[in-house]
Structures are given as C-alpha cells and as structure tokens.
C-alpha cells in the first residue's frame, strides 16, 4: 500500500515542475544568453563557430567559393533604370554603420553580434528610388532562399546593413563574404549571405 503523500496531485505537479525547469535550463541558453553556460543539450553553443557566430550553411555547401572569391565580384544594385556596381573596396569606402543585431534562426537558436557595413537604404537611395522594397539575390546557385524580398519598412531601418564586417573582422567565407544582409526583426534564413544583386522594387 502507498500512502496519500506518495502519489498526491501535489507530488505529481512538483515532479512535472522540476522536470520542466530542468528541461528549460539545459536548452534555453541557445537563445537566452545568460543561460548559455547551462545549455548542455542545445544543438548550438553561444560563441561556437567562426567569429563567434554559429553557421548553418557553409560557403562550400552553398557552392559559392569560386564566385565569392572572384576578383570580378561586385554588388549590383539596380533600380529606376540605372544599374550600379560596387566592389568590396568601394563599399568599404562609403560611410560605415555599426549595428548590434542578432542572427535569430528558425531552428531555435539566436546569437547577437556586432556588424559593420553600408546602410541598405543608402544604396537604394543611390539608384534615385528611395523608400522602396528590394529583391535580394545571393551568389548561391540554388536553395530556397537564393532570392528573397524585403519590404520597404525593413529597408528604411537605419540598422539594416549590407554587412562587410562581423565582430570586428572582415566577414568570413561561411558568414557571407564578400557582403551579406543583416536586418533587425527578420528570421535568419532571410539574412542573405554572399550577396550578388539587389533590385529595387518599383
């Protein structure tokens, strides 16, 4: 025979509560930075990965190694009938903006990082077509997110960047060299790496 204390509702709820706390404690750290040291069973580790940020798709997986390192690379920005091209040095020569923004992956991890680059809204304005959305194309030959669109509300944000640096260093290949998008409030899959072209939508 078991006593009431042995299998009471209170005991059961206490057990469930402890289990829920334990499960949360060992996983939540992959997105909540202060809990990171406890995140034993998170697929991602805060700070693990090149330049302190985890990577989903490497440059080799995406098949962009040759294109991204080509000396002929330039970011093409098209809009209002004009076509502009910026080499990485030309982008670095423009006024640089720093932003601290997270990569927030739909897989459940997020990591905040320091980014530096050119404001997307300045490149869009250079085409003479301000306050527009854009279509962003990556160098990668295929993939669901090779071509994505960004609404004017994201383009207008002053922290939306064509990023050239990550955590104080030039973007690594796997983080999107020569240039990538970083914007606030967008899922990680839309933070396009290895930029090829930006079309200003009419």
């Amino acid at each position: 025979m078991t006593s009431d204390a042995d299998r009471s509702r209170r005991t059961f709820l206490t057990g469930v509560g402890i289990a829920a706390l334990a499960v949360t404690a060992v996983t939540a750290g992959q997105t909540i930075a202060p809990l990171a040291p406890l995140a034993a069973f998170a697929p991602r580790r805060a700070g693990a990965g090149e330049q302190g940020v985890p990577i989903n798709r490497t440059a080799a997986e995406a098949g962009v190694l040759d294109l991204a390192t080509a000396s002929t690379w330039a970011l093409v920005v098209r809009g209002g009938g004009s076509t502009l091209a910026f080499t990485r040095d030309q982008l670095l020569g423009r006024s640089q903006t720093a932003a601290t923004l997270p990569i927030a992956c739909v897989e459940g991890w997020s990591t905040v990082a320091d980014w530096r680059g050119v404001r997307l809204l300045e490149l869009v304005a250079a085409t003479g077509q301000p306050n527009r959305g854009v279509r962003i194309t990556s160098l990668q030959p295929n993939g669901n997110y090779r071509v994505t669109e960004m609404g004017p509300e994201f383009v207008a944000d002053p922290t939306t960047l064509v990023a050239l640096e990550l955590n104080g260093e030039a973007l690594s290949m796997d983080h999107g060299y020569p240039a990538r998008i970083i914007a606030p409030g967008r899922p990680g899959v839309l933070q396009t790496k290895w930029l090829a072209q930006i079309d200003v939508l009419s």
């Binding site: 402890i18 034993a40 069973f41 697929p43 580790r45 693990a48 090149e50 985890p54 989903n56 997986e61």
Partner: protein, 149 residues
Amino acid sequence: MRAARIVLVVLGAAAAIFGIVLVLATQRFDQLLSLAAWLAAAIVVHDGIVAPATTLTTRGLDRVGGRLTARARTVIRMAWGVGACLTLLAVPLVVAQARGARNDSVLAGDYARDLALLWGAIAVVTVLAAAISLGRSRRTSARAASTDR
C-alpha cells in the same frame, strides 16, 4: 482558494484559446499539418517510451523499496522522471553527433558526457534527499516511541 483557482483556470483557458486562434490565423494549412504531426509525435514519444519506462520502474520500486520511506520513494520517482526527460533531449543529439555534424558550429557540445554528468548529479541529489527523509522519519518515530512511555 476557490476564487484563486477559478481565476487561474479562466486565465489559462484564455491564454490557450488566444494561442490556438493565433496559430490558426497565421499558419498555412501545410504548416498546420506538420504542427499536428509534431504534436502527435510528442504524444507517441511520451505514451510509448517515457510513460512505460517510468511505470515499470515505479512498479519495481514498490516491490523492492519497501524499506524506504514513502517520501524517499517519491523523491526517487521524481528524480527518475526528470532524468527520463533529460535523456529524451540528449538522445537525438548523441545520435546526430554520431552520424556526423553539418559543420563545426553545429552539435558543438559533448552531449553523452553531459548526460552522464546530469544523471550523476540527479543520483547524488536523490540519495541525499532520501537519506534526509529517512533520518527525519527515524527521529520522528523515536520521538513517538519515547512519548508513548
């Protein structure tokens, strides 16, 4: 107490309804289908693996644990439940790691070691809690015996 319970139930139900409405309003049909599959898998894993495992062990505990206090048996049961949940989290990671990670930043932990460490910690806490409860019940029964005289 009764009023507090009613308030909690109403709040909980309202939150659940809000969540359901939000899911139905924002997700496409195919997304809802994969959500349903995911939820069904959670039930299968619970009813098919976790519940049988914990039931079997608690039955075994009832049979061999007669010398333990009821409280000590409760502590062991809770610890087993917590350990089962943590194991459930770790197993897919260990399996995925054995199959090879996608790149260095994925599956960066030593999950098998951490699972062993956590089970060790659970065992230590359980033994301590059970020992404390055993000591307390001995003292209580000793005191009860002395007041009987």
